[in-house]
Symmetry: C2
Subunit: 514 residues, 2 copies
C-alpha cells in the first residue's frame, strides 16, 4: 500500500465513495490507487468548475461529502468559484489537490504555485499530506472538517511523494465530527418571548430549517404567534411544492428586499444571517432591516436546527396543523415563450420528487409564484452568487439521486461558464433535463447598468453585456457534447418538449428562447 492507496481506503472507510475528478500528472498515483479500488465511483469533469460544482450538488442531496481530485494550484483555481458556492451552502466537501513531490517544490517547476493561499479563502480547512505515513490521519482530519457543524470545505494538499511512497500506517476508520451544538435555552427563550410580545416579527430561516418537517413546525409556530416566516434569498436546499409549506424568499432586488422588511420590528434568525444587500448601491443601505429592528439570533448555521425548532415550539406552542400548498397549477399561457410560461409548464409537468437546480438568475425570479402547487420537489439554489454552478450542480445531484428527475433552470450567460458539464451528464447517462433561458444577454447586468444611472447602453456596454452576436446555438453545443437537445420559442412548443423530456430518462436540453 502506498500513500495514495491509504487515502483511498480512508475515504471509503469513512463513507466517501464518490470522487469527482480532473486529474493531472501529479495525481497519477492517486488515479492508480482509485483504479485498484472499484468501490470508488469516479466521475470525470472536463473542467474543474464542473468537478467542484458537481461535488456541491452531490453533497446537498446525498447529505455526505464527495471527494474531488484536482491538479495542482491552477486546477484548484479553476474549481474555486464553485467551492465558493459550496462554502456558502455549507456543503461538506473533501478536495484532494495534488502538489509536486516535496523535493521538487523548491525547483519552481512551471506548475508550481502557492496552493495554500489559493485554497484558504474558499476552504474551512486546509492541510498538507507531506509523507505517506501521515496521509491517513490528514485525510481523517479533512473528513472531520468537512462533516463539522453544518458542513465544511476541506482541502487536502497531497504531495506526489506522499502518494507514491509505501506505508503501513493504519486506515483511520472512525472519524467522529463534532455534533451540531445543542440549542441554547436562553436564546430559544429570547426568541419565544419576542414572538409573544405582539411586535411585527419575521422568522428568517435557511439550512435544515427548510426541510419539510421543520418548515411545517415553523409554520405552526408562525400561525400561533402571528409571525411571518421567510427563507433567506438563496438556500442550499428547500423542500417545497404540493403538500408542503409555501415559503417565500427574501427578494434579490434591493428595493424589493427593503420593502419586504420595511414594517419588520423584530427578526428571529434560525440558521440564517440578518439580510444584507447582495451588492452595495450608492445611497442605499447595506442592511435590509429598518432602523431599530431588533435581531434575535436564535440558532446559527452550525447549530442543530431541527432540535432548536422543536425547542422553540415547546416554548411558544403551535397551531394544530401547518398550512400546506394544494396541488395545482395556473392555466398554461399560449403564444410567445416567457419565463412565466416555463414556470407554469413545470408546475404542470414536473414529476414527484424532482430535484430543481436553479441558476436561472433573472429569468427564474417569479418561479415560486407558479409552482407552490407543483409536485413536491427539492429546490437547490446558487448560494454564493458565483455563476457557473447550475449545470455542474444538476450533474452532482443526479449522481447522488439516480432515481429522481433532475431539472436545471439555467440562464444562458451563466450556463456558458461550465457548459462542459453537459458532457459528464451524457457520459454518466444522468437523468437531467436542462432548460436554458436563452434571452441572449446578461439581463441582470442590463438592469444593474440602469441602476447606476448610465442610461441607454452604448457600444462598449452592449459589447460587454449582450450575447446576441452571434447567438449561442444551445442545441448544437449540447449535441456536440452528446446531450440530445431541442429548441422552443412558443409556450405550446415548450410544453410539448417538456412533456416529452419528462417522460424519458437521460440527459436532455431545451433551449427556451425567451
Amino acid at each position: 500500500m502506498n500513500g495514495a492507496d491509504l487515502l483511498c481506503e480512508t475515504l471509503l472507510a469513512n463513507g466517501i465513495d464518490t470522487c469527482f475528478a480532473n486529474p493531472g500528472t501529479s495525481e497519477m498515483h492517486f488515479v492508480a490507487a482509485l483504479d485498484r479500488q472499484p468501490r470508488m465511483r469516479c466521475v470525470l469533469g472536463l473542467f474543474e468548475g464542473v468537478v467542484t460544482g458537481a461535488a456541491d450538488g452531490y453533497a446537498r442531496m446525498a447529505e455526505k461529502p464527495a471527494a474531488t481530485l484536482l491538479h495542482l494550484g491552477p486546477g484548484l483555481a479553476n474549481g474555486l468559484a464553485n467551492m465558493h458556492n459550496a462554502r456558502r451552502a455549507r456543503s461538506p466537501m473533501v478536495n484532494v489537490v495534488g502538489d509536486h513531490a516535496t523535493c521538487h517544490l523548491p525547483l519552481d517547476a512551471p506548475l508550481t504555485s502557492d496552493i495554500d493561499s489559493l485554497a484558504r479563502p474558499m476552504s474551512h480547512w486546509v492541510g498538507r499530506a507531506e509523507a505517506a505515513d501521515a496521509v491517513g490521519s490528514r485525510t481523517a482530519e479533512a473528513i472531520a472538517a468537512a462533516r463539522a457543524g453544518a458542513g465544511g470545505i476541506a482541502t487536502l494538499i497531497l504531495h506526489a511523494d506522499a502518494a507514491w511512497t509505501r506505508t503501513s500506517a493504519p486506515v483511520p476508520v472512525a472519524v467522529v465530527p463534532a455534533a451540531p451544538a445543542a440549542p441554547d435555552p436562553a436564546r430559544i427563550r429570547a426568541a419565544a418571548e419576542a414572538l409573544r410580545n405582539g411586535k411585527r416579527t419575521t422568522i428568517l430561516v435557511t439550512g435544515r430549517a427548510l426541510r419539510a418537517p421543520q418548515a411545517e413546525m415553523l409554520d405552526r409556530i408562525a400561525q400561533k404567534t402571528g409571525a411571518r416566516l421567510m427563507a433567506q434569498q438563496a438556500n442550499a436546499r428547500m423542500q417545497r411544492g404540493a403538500g408542503r409549506v409555501a415559503l417565500d424568499r427574501v427578494p434579490y432586488v434591493i428595493d424589493q428586499a427593503l420593502a419586504t422588511f420595511a414594517e419588520t420590528e423584530q427578526l428571529v434568525l434560525i440558521g440564517a444571517n440578518a439580510p444584507v444587500g447582495f451588492f452595495a448601491y450608492p445611497g442605499k443601505p447595506g442592511s435590509m432591516l429598518p432602523e431599530g429592528c431588533r435581531v434575535i439570533a436564535m440558532a446559527g448555521a452550525d447549530d442543530d436546527l431541527p432540535a432548536a425548532i422543536a425547542a422553540l415550539a415547546g416554548e411558544t406552542g403551535m397551531a394544530s396543523a401547518p398550512r400546506l400548498a394544494e396541488r395545482g397549477a395556473p392555466d398554461m399561457p399560449g403564444g410567445a415563450l416567457t419565463p412565466d410560461a416555463i414556470a407554469v409548464a413545470l408546475a404542470h409537468l414536473m414529476p414527484e420528487n424532482a430535484i430543481v437546480c436553479d441558476e436561472s438568475v433573472t429569468s427564474g425570479r417569479d418561479f415560486f409564484r407558479s409552482t407552490h402547487g407543483a409536485a413536491p420537489h427539492d429546490f437547490l439554489q446558487l448560494t454564493g452568487g458565483s455563476i457557473g454552478e447550475g449545470i455542474p450542480m444538476a450533474t452532482g445531484a443526479a449522481v447522488a439521486c439516480p432515481d429522481r428527475k433532475v431539472i436545471g433552470l439555467q440562464a444562458d450567460g451563466s450556463g456558458m461558464y461550465t457548459v462542459q458539464g453537459l458532457w459528464t451528464q451524457a457520459r454518466e447517462r444522468l437523468d437531467v433535463v436542462t432548460i436554458v433561458f436563452a434571452n441572449r444577454l446578461y439581463k441582470i447586468l442590463h438592469g444593474e447598468l440602469q441602476n447606476v444611472g448610465a442610461g441607454t447602453p452604448g457600444e462598449n456596454a452592449r459589447r460587454m453585456l449582450d450575447l446576441d452576436d452571434p447567438a449561442l446555438d444551445w442545441v448544437r453545443i449540447a449535441g456536440g457534447m452528446g446531450v440530445e437537445a431541442a429548441r422552443a420559442d412558443t409556450a405550446e412548443a415548450f410544453f410539448d418538449l417538456l412533456r416529452s423530456a419528462m417522460s424519458r430518462k437521460g440527459p436532455f436540453l431545451i433551449e427556451a428562447v425567451v
Copy 2:
C-alpha cells in the same frame, strides 16, 4: 468624473486601450465609464479564463499590457489559471477586479471573499483602490508593475465606492517603469570565458533572446565557440521558420530531457532558468543537468537580453553569418491523419507571418521537426503548464494582430477547458484557424499512468483519462458558438481543409481526428 472614469483615463493615458472583460454588478460603474470612452476596445469573454488567456496572448504579440475586468473573488478565481501561464510567460497584464463597496465588505454578502489571498500567488503586484481620489495613482502603480522588467501581472482591486465616487484627482500621464537591468559585465565575461574553455557547453535561452535578431546573433556566437544553442521547454514567443535560426527546445519527456543534457559540462543561461523536470518521478532527478555541470547565469529574465547578447558577442566574437533554415517542407504523407501529417501540411500551407498558438500537448511534440522551413512565423506556447489557454491565447493574439493569420494547435482535452473562447473569436470576427487534435483522451496522462507503473488502465482510470464516451463533436460545438467548422480524418482531407481555411479570413475550426 468618478473613480471609474479616472481608471479608464489612466489606462488610456498610459497606452492601454484594450480591455478583455467579464464584468458583474460590482464593476457596473467601470462598465459605464468604458461606455463613455470609445477609445477603449472592450472584448467580452464568456468565462474569465478566456479573458485572462486572451490578455496573455495579446500582451505577447502587442508587447504591451491589456486590461482585464473581472468580477469579485470568484471571477478572479476563474481567471487565475491563465494568469498563472501569463505570469510564467512574463506577459504584462493589468487586472481590474471589482470588490464590494468598502462599507459593504464587513457585511459578508454572498459574493464576499479574500481577493488578496486569491490574487497573490498569480500576481507580481496586488493593490486596492479604496477611494476615488486614489484610483489614478493606484492604477499607475499597477501599470508600472506590469511593465517592470520583462513584464508582470498586476492585480488592482477596485472597490465599488471608489468607482462611483466623484473625484477631481489628476490623470497620471507618465508612468515610467524601471528599465531592464543593464548587462553585468562580470557575468558576461564569465560566460564568454566558459564558452572559450573548450568544455561541452549549452546556451539555454528564452524571452527576448528568441526574437529573430537575437537568435541570429546567438547562433553566430555558437558557431564561433562550438557551443550548442537551445530554447527552454516552453517559451512565451519564438520567431522561427524559413530564414530564421532553427532552434530546438528542451524536450518535455523527462528521459529525453535528461539525455539532452547528459554530455553537457557547462550551461550558460540567458533569460532561462536551469532546466528541471516538469514533474517529479520516483527515482528520477529533479534537475535535468548531470552531476558537476557548471551553471553560468549570464542574464536573468528581467535583464536587457538583447543588450546582454550583444555584449557577449563583443567578448566572444561571432561567425560571419547565422545558419538560417531554408524554405521547404517534407513531402505530404497520405492516408490516416497523424499529428505529423498535420505538421507537414502546416509547413506547406502556413502563410507568411502567421502566429502559431500551441496547446497541442502530446500531439504537437514533433511539430518543430517538420516546420523549421515553414514560412516565418511566431510560435507561442503554454508556459505555465495550466491547460485551457490555447483558444484564449489565439483569441488575444488575433486581437493584437488583426492582419496576421493565427493558427491554434489545440489538444481536445485542454481545448474543452475554455471552449467558450470560440464565441469571442466569432463575435470579434478574428482570423483564427483552430486545429483540434481529436485523439479523444488525455493522452499525456495515459503516458504518465504507465510511467508510475500502473500497467493497463482499468475501469476507474479509463473513466478519468478517456474522452471517448461520448466523443466530443467539435464541429457542432464550434458551430453552436458561431464558428464555422469541419472534420478531417485523412491526411488528404486535412490538407484540403487547411488550404481552404488559410485562403479565407475569419474564425474556422478543423476537428482533426488523429
